[in-house]
């Protein structure tokens, strides 16, 4: 599974990282370059060189402290506070020199370049930072050219020095920003790649899901049909094999009736003898028994048909608003009649508000849950199917007195292909299908964790 993608969070983290890296670049540049001003001060302001050197070294010390602090800073507030403190303190060191210098223009331009560097660190876009740098350079050139005297060598030296140090700082910032941009680009490429992979995975999952649903339908249908075939086989056998004996009896009786019809008065003893031969009492009893069991066989087939119709009612793709107890009853009737000996199903179906549902699909859920319970309990097992209203929801629970669901199985219970029934017995799709169907009905299915004896599956659906 790909890691969870959180674009807003990632953006905030990336912005913080950018600010931190730019701060570190600036502190590093300042820490290295500020001491380099000391010889320049000695050249341009020899009268105050010592005092200025102290100020430069103090500024460099602030930069080194900022560098160390930024490397450890992890929050936005810490990064911003350190950056701000760094530029205020190093800026102050230069600001106190300004009123005392002789080469005022050069120092002002240098100082403004420094301020530009500080501003560029925070939020300025690159074009604005570059534009400001250009304006400062133009101003520097203009001031030097407009000076009444010809530019002095030390003015040119200081201008060149400012340009070099500023270029170094700009390069540092650009490097930091390029790194940020490259990372952002890589991140977006990775996102696009991951998106493509996810789309492919989703398509293949949908395909697998469709095949799973089809295969579970076949499996559930197979079980259902096997049960139905047994249900119908016995009555069909009764109907098929009683027909001939009944026909023989009826044939003999019809033949006797024909004799009676054409009989002359003197033939009565012969007819009576024929009746005795036939054993009318036995024939009457045998016919009554044969037609009786045939009639009940027909009734059994009709009942199977009725239950089946109620069960598959939701072949209708449209959802309906209806009482889900009807489907529960049909399912229980279907399973109840081929229940292994010694297993009892208790149904406690309460009055329910109607639910929006696809009855056939929900019946599949009830069928799977009850059939699982039947498979789980042995002789003497009891299955309790209960429906009731809880607030705005309808709850159906299927509890059994079987061995229960082992704790290690619980997390995987609704996973497709997970089965404890052994190869060839369970497909491992029954509960996964239940989960899917219940989810499609905006409901929930779970195992009751408080159930101590046996297992209790609980389905909750919103009332319509």
């Amino acid at each position: 599974m790909p890691a969870c993608v959180d674009p807003p969070g990632a953006w905030v983290a990336e912005c913080l990282e950018r600010e931190r890296r730019e701060g570190i670049a600036a502190a590093l540049c300042a820490g290295l370059l500020i001491p380099a001003w000391v010889p320049l001060d000695m050249l341009m302001e020899p009268a105050r060189a010592r005092q200025f050197a102290v100020l430069r070294l103090v500024g460099a010390a602030f930069s080194v402290a900022a560098f160390a602090s930024l490397r450890r800073a992890r929050t936005r507030a810490a990064v911003r506070a350190t950056n701000a403190a760094h530029f205020v303190m190093t800026g102050l060191c230069v600001a106190v020199m300004l009123p005392q210098v002789e080469h005022f223009q050069a120092y002002v331009v240098g100082y403004s370049l420094f301020l530009w560097g500080a501003g560029a660190l925070f939020t300025w876009p690159v074009w604005l930072a570059a534009g400001t740098a250009l304006a400062h350079l133009s101003l520097l050139s203009l001031l030097i050219l407009a000076a009444p005297a010809r530019p002095h060598l030390d003015d040119l030296l200081s201008g060149g020095f400012y340009l070099v140090t500023t270029a170094a700082m700009v390069l540092g910032f650009v490097g930091a920003r390029r790194r940020t941009l490259r990372r952002a680009f890589q991140a977006s490429m990775e996102l696009a790649q991951r998106h493509r992979e996810l789309v492919t995975a989703l398509e293949s999952l949908r395909d697998t899901q469709a095949r799973l649903v089809a295969s579970e339908k076949q499996s559930a249908l197979g079980r259902l049909l096997a049960g139905l075939s047994h249900e119908i086989n016995n009555p069909v056998n009764v109907l098929q094999n009683n027909l001939d004996p009944v026909r023989e009896h009826v044939g003999a009786l019809v033949e006797l009736a024909r004799h009676v019809e054409g009989a002359r008065p003197g033939e009565l003893p012969a007819l009576q003898a024929r009746c005795r031969e036939l054993d009318l009492a036995f024939v009457a009893e045998d016919l009554a028994d044969a037609t009786g069991i045939m009639r009940s066989a027909v009734e059994r087939i009709r009942q199977v048909h009725r239950d089946l119709r109620a069960f598959i009612r939701g072949g209708e793709p449209e959802s309906v608003v209806s009482d889900l107890n009807e489907g529960l009853q049909a399912t229980l009737a279907l399973i109840g009649r081929r229940l292994p000996a010694g297993i009892r199903i208790d149904a406690d179906l309460g009055r329910l508000r109607p639910v929006r549902m696809q009855p056939g699909q929900l019946n599949q859920v009830w069928h799977n849950l009850v059939q699982n319970a039947v498979d789980a309990v042995g002789a003497g097992g009891v299955i309790t199917v209960r429906s009731r209203e809880i607030g705005s929801e309808v709850e159906v629970s299927v509890a059994d007195t079987g061995p229960g669901v082992p704790a290690e199985v619980l997390p995987r219970l609704f996973e497709p292909f997970f089965t404890t029934k052994g190869v060839g017995v369970g497909t491992g799709l029954g509960l996964a299908t239940c989960y899917q169907i219940v989810e499609r009905h905006a409901g929930r299915i779970a195992v009751d964790p408080t159930c101590e004896a046996g297992a209790r599956f609980v389905v909750r659906l919103p009332a319509a």
């Binding site: 016995n234 094999n241 069991i293």
Partner: protein, 128 residues
């Protein structure tokens, strides 16, 4: 009246109408005995030996195969026939291949039952 002893057939099925149907169809041909469960069948066999046992597969407690396996152990001379609607069940196919049972599909046909029983009895007699 001395007549040739009729073939004695035991039918085991938990579905009473089926048992009554078998009895009605074969009462003239065979000496039919009936049981509604495996336990009842084994109990009956101890006091009344039979030639053929026709046993339904799908029954609670002991299914048809289990009953016939028990018969093979305790009453090996009895001809074993399984009646079932699940002819393609893997257990049944295996039992058939192992020669444990002969399978007749349900709903059964009178002539087919008669023919099968005759053939199986002839084969048993030939083996001695």
């Amino acid at each position: 009246m001395e007549e040739e002893r009729r073939t004695r057939v035991l039918v085991v099925d938990d579905d009473a109408p089926n048992v009554r149907t078998f009895l009605r169809v074969f009462r003239e041909l065979y000496d039919v005995r009936t049981a509604l469960s495996g336990a009842e069948a084994l109990e009956l066999l101890r006091s009344c030996p039979v030639d053929v046992a026709l046993v339904d597969y799908s029954m609670p407690a002991m299914n048809g195969l289990e009953i016939l396996r028990e018969l093979e152990r305790s009453f090996p001379k009895v001809v074993r026939v399984l009646l079932t609607g699940y002819g393609d069940h893997p257990d049944i196919l295996a039992a058939q291949r192992a020669g444990l049972v002969t399978v007749l599909s349900k709903p059964w046909d009178r002539d087919e039952v008669e023919r099968t029983v005759e053939q199986l009895l002839a084969a048993r007699d030939a083996r001695g």
